[in-house]
Symmetry: C2
Subunit: 191 residues, 2 copies
């Protein structure tokens, strides 16, 4: 068995998308890095978009794996929630592809990069939704719409981490870890 050309292409594409973003990655580039002819890419992927999709799916899969590592059924729901969100946002901050796509959206507004980021967010909400549902079933939190609740949780987390620091001194991780359950678990109603 000779080398797995499909794998070579995927690895080369992942590297290039992470390094240069979606738009600045050319099919010639990918072929060159992979050490294959350009035509070969098109025997595996119909077009650039599908190749990108493959890389995004792999990324989301990896994020799910990373999230799973940190969830501990023994712990309280809000404890797990914070650990997962922190891990995922850290991951997103560390992962070159996610960084590059975010940057690309802000700087040149590439449509595909935009869609890539949305896919990641959708996957994260989907993951949290499952955790919310479990927590509701276990009676750990009140009955609620899991989709809306998961959405609210991600948005609140992103507001406290990413949005807040655009106009204020950033909140420490400890503070965020306190604020999330402060607002969403206990609520603001006086005792």
């Amino acid at each position: 068995m000779t080398v797995d050309r499909r794998k070579l292409i995927i690895e080369a594409a992942a590297k290039s998308f992470a390094l240069f973003g979606y738009k600045a990655t050319t099919m010639d580039q990918v072929a060159k890095i992979a050490g294959v002819g350009k035509g070969t890419i098109y025997t595996f992927f119909a077009n650039k978009e599908e190749l990108f999709q493959e890389i995004m799916n792999k990324l989301i899969q990896e994020m799910k794996r990373v999230a799973e590592e940190v969830v501990d059924p023994e712990r309280k729901f809000f404890d797990n929630l914070h650990r997962v969100l922190e891990r995922l946002l850290d991951f997103r901050e560390e992962h070159e592809l996610a960084i590059k796509l975010t940057q690309e959206v802000k700087e040149i507004g590439t449509q595909m990069a935009q869609e890539g980021i949305q896919q990641i967010e959708k996957a994260v909400v989907g993951y949290i939704r499952i955790q919310v549902k479990k927590a509701v079933d276990k009676g750990e939190i009140k009955p609620c719409d899991p989709e809306i609740t998961a959405f609210v949780m991600l948005k609140l987390y992103m507001a406290l981490t990413a949005d807040w620091k655009k106009s204020h001194e950033p909140l420490g991780k400890g503070q965020v870890a306190e604020l999330l359950p402060f607002y969403l678990q206990a609520g603001l109603a006086p005792d």
Copy 2:
């Protein structure tokens, strides 16, 4: 006393910014609508930016007035909160200048339009912060950082109204009115 040229200019500028946005509004245009010479504008405002600032301040003032109309000290805090946010977001949706600026930021990313929108949000958070502080003092809600709390409230409201509908069926006003206190007042902790 002859006509108030300053007022003519402000009215013309307000009309033009709302109709064409920041970038597409020219000083010649404003002068023409106001029926004054272009040089006259510069006897009142140092440059285009300052003229825009004047219009933005007027808009924010008007929003504050509109918000005040709806706050009733007899009502519960969360009731007032929803009424104010709804009124303000409605206002923003109705008000041509706010619409135009939002559109301009999305379409051509004009810096000044961006800053204009940010000013509006900052003013809204500032207004809510005062209400939060009052509510804390009255013991209507738990002690909390008013700035962070106001920020969280606006973000959550925008998440439920604007962000949610980007990927889902929009939530009705009644639903939003229920969800806001559901998450922030009562909290998700089981009874």
